[in-house]
Symmetry: C2
Amino acid sequence: MTEKIKRNERMAVMMQVLTTAPNRIFTLSHFAEMFDAAKSTVSEDVALLEKAVERFSLGRLETVTGASGGVRYRPALGSGGRRAFIEDICQKLSDPSRVLPGGFLYYADILSDPEMVTGMGNLIAGACYGLLPDFVLTMETKGIPVAMMAARALGKPLVIARHTIKAYEGSAVNTPYVSASGGIETMSLPRRAVENGKKALIVDDFMRGGGTISGMKNLMREFDVEIVGTLVVLAMEAVDNRLVDNVRPLMLLGPIQHGETPVVRPADWI
Amino acid sequence: MTEKIKRNERMAVMMQVLTTAPNRIFTLSHFAEMFDAAKSTVSEDVALLEKAVERFSLGRLETVTGASGGVRYRPALGSGGRRAFIEDICQKLSDPSRVLPGGFLYYADILSDPEMVTGMGNLIAGACYGLLPDFVLTMETKGIPVAMMAARALGKPLVIARHTIKAYEGSAVNTPYVSASGGIETMSLPRRAVENGKKALIVDDFMRGGGTISGMKNLMREFDVEIVGTLVVLAMEAVDNRLVDNVRPLMLLGPIQHGETPVVRPADWI
């Protein structure tokens, strides 16, 4: 490159690279080489970026020391921004036209809107960095986009349990579970999808009785995997005899009646 | 805010905001207010950012003029980076241990690795910005993460067709299609998931005979939706009598034999 690269260019490009691969550690040497600059110069850039990220509540830029050290970016919303973001979704969901026959709530659109799922994924990751999961687990289908975005913010792979694994996908482990409608269904995961002894974070879209989540926990037991946390986008309030505990929902849904406005509110920890 | 915000801080923060919401137009006033700066100052920042994004092949930063004008960021890989990225995935897939009984290829891990799916999603979006889709359509399950990332880079919603829409999800449109195994299956979409008269970009994970994609096209006809483009991650080479044409794969897969190395190569347009 002929023209020298200025600090403002370096900082903008670093921020882009760090934002595109959240929670991944980039060495200072990586950036020094990229910009043909001294490591001390890059180190000053990072210090300035750290301050900027904090000032505008964009998450956290962290310097990691040690042999595999460097800098990483973790997206997160400040507690104020977090609550405002979830309240906005609650408002979108609190719409009588979303109530379907049988007292169900239509929310598939919210779960595949890029801005919504990116925000929810970042929020979930922000609450779970300290749990150090090796992967994110979800059960098909509607929770996949949010789970994928959480996995992306954590910089970890997503593993998707399915109703049936076709024979042509290789050996699989099957587990029965109680579905939302009360029937017994099967969830399945290819044997090679998960390494024994790892740590999983469960992310799912909806919880009523907890059957699906209980199924995922049983499934992970077959792989000798520890569950470090369980988050769901929406949980029904006031359900008796839930099959699981320690589940953190982003939002709580009250009992719904046809023609009435559904009551959706942020969970207390948000 | 007490301390004045410097240009390098403004540029880094703008880059973060633009990268987090790809293809969304932010007005200069938005940033001017955010930084308590003059619009002319922000406009100079944007000009410098545009140069930096181009210089480091990070995609494109574009100034959009007119009433709803402003600045937007479109992630994309340069043609060199694009080919290198896909070649790297081809190499990962060209592994005899991935061949499953019956001559199938295991690739679910590639389709839920955040770095891979973000890259593939950006690549797909980069080829499709000009097609101006209103939404991205996929059929559950394995293609959802890539389709979600393409939707994110395009700044448009994702719509997911499913095998069965449960009664509690409201009215749905069903279409029969020929599945990969040759049987007849059904795909289903809630009536309210798509507005009539819109434009769809189809993104799916795998194509052999084209049955699933043909089904999605039939399904969209029911909604009076125009298909502006169809992309798949992986397509079998040398398949006779395919049900669809004009499908762009990212990679091509040769006939596979148990115990042999699968042959996976980038499609010519990559």
